[in-house]
Symmetry: D2
Subunit: 120 residues, 4 copies
């Protein structure tokens, strides 16, 4: 069976995939970044074991991505940073999405609180 | 060719389909309805010819839809009312989504401003 | 009130917005284009008044959009052409999405079958 | 730092969240279940470390969920079963989504292949 730490990491992944595929493609401009950040964070915080979500959509990147007459672009991973904290049965998992070599990467930052006698 | 009024109605439909399928499925609870309403309205207002969007997610319906231990539900059309105003080449189209006989229906409310000599 | 032609155009717009915002962001590679085309078309054909949907995802554009080690990209409007036929109360509307000046544009192609005595 | 097994579970969670929030809300009827199953599986199999995805949308549940004149419903977790196999650095994770007490639950089925000397 899975350990609590593995289960916590599974839950953390679910939240990241949910956040990304629920909101990617949303029309966004510098005037709508704050409301979208708030909605994304509060929506995913509803999910089980999700203690906190912080979303930062970079206005300058959004502005740079708008290269046509319409005045908006669509949300992608390259426009934002995300940090989350998941807690499951005493295990706290920290994750983030940030640009790595030009691509947005979802990654585990830390897995803490596992009982010392627990194996994988 | 399409008339300006027809084009305006096409644009209005695009916004409704966009709003619905971008945000349906978003985790929502009574504590996150306000931020989601704001994000939905501001996101769709970015789209061309979209003058205003008002989204009302009914907290009581959200609460009623939460029937399990997780404390949240997923956004569907039955939980909200939406009104939009689209303007295209002098034609103003008003639309809304509201419950009709137990189902959410997207509908044209009015199409105004068509020049009197224009035919379909 | 809206004419049947206007209503048909509104319905056509709903289908386009739905198709785009339901499926934009889907992971896609040249090996998964055919199944995604089929699913998109059949899904939207379920919607009211939607007679036919044809989706062509261009394998060469998908391959060009894959510029990193993962071997896939995310579906956007620039990777595909879409054609739809909507029928509402005797009015047939044809629409398409295609690239115009480097951007995907949803447009009305024709609005046919309006009774000769109908005005906007 | 995270172990390979934890990382594998994180990746497995990402795929589940992605699949669910990309495709939930898709219009579906008994005539479009097969194409949607295929598109969902092939789309998510594009993602890194995802070896296989099997989606079964139950035609009978879809038919039961269609209770109005339109003849379709929207995809939710209660209409389908999903199984996935993720492989990361020698660790194989099996996951599934199935109904538990009336609700769809995403769960780890097994985490195999961890080197014997690895902890957490």
């Amino acid at each position: 069976m899975a350990t609590d730490a593995q289960q916590a990491c599974f839950e953390a992944g679910i939240k990241f995939g949910s956040l990304y595929h629920q909101f990617a493609g949303t029309p966004v401009s510098p005037s709508s970044t704050r409301s979208l950040e708030a909605a994304m964070a509060e929506a995913i915080e509803n999910q089980p074991f999700c203690e906190s979500v912080a979303v930062e959509i970079h206005d300058d990147r959004v502005a740079d991505a708008i290269d046509h007459e319409n005045g908006y672009t669509e949300l992608t991973g390259s426009l934002m940073d995300v940090e989350m904290r998941i807690a499951y049965e005493g295990v706290t998992v920290r994750t983030r999405m940030a640009m790595r070599d030009g691509y947005p990467l979802m990654e585990l930052v830390s897995v803490d609180g596992v009982a010392s006698d627990e194996t994988n």
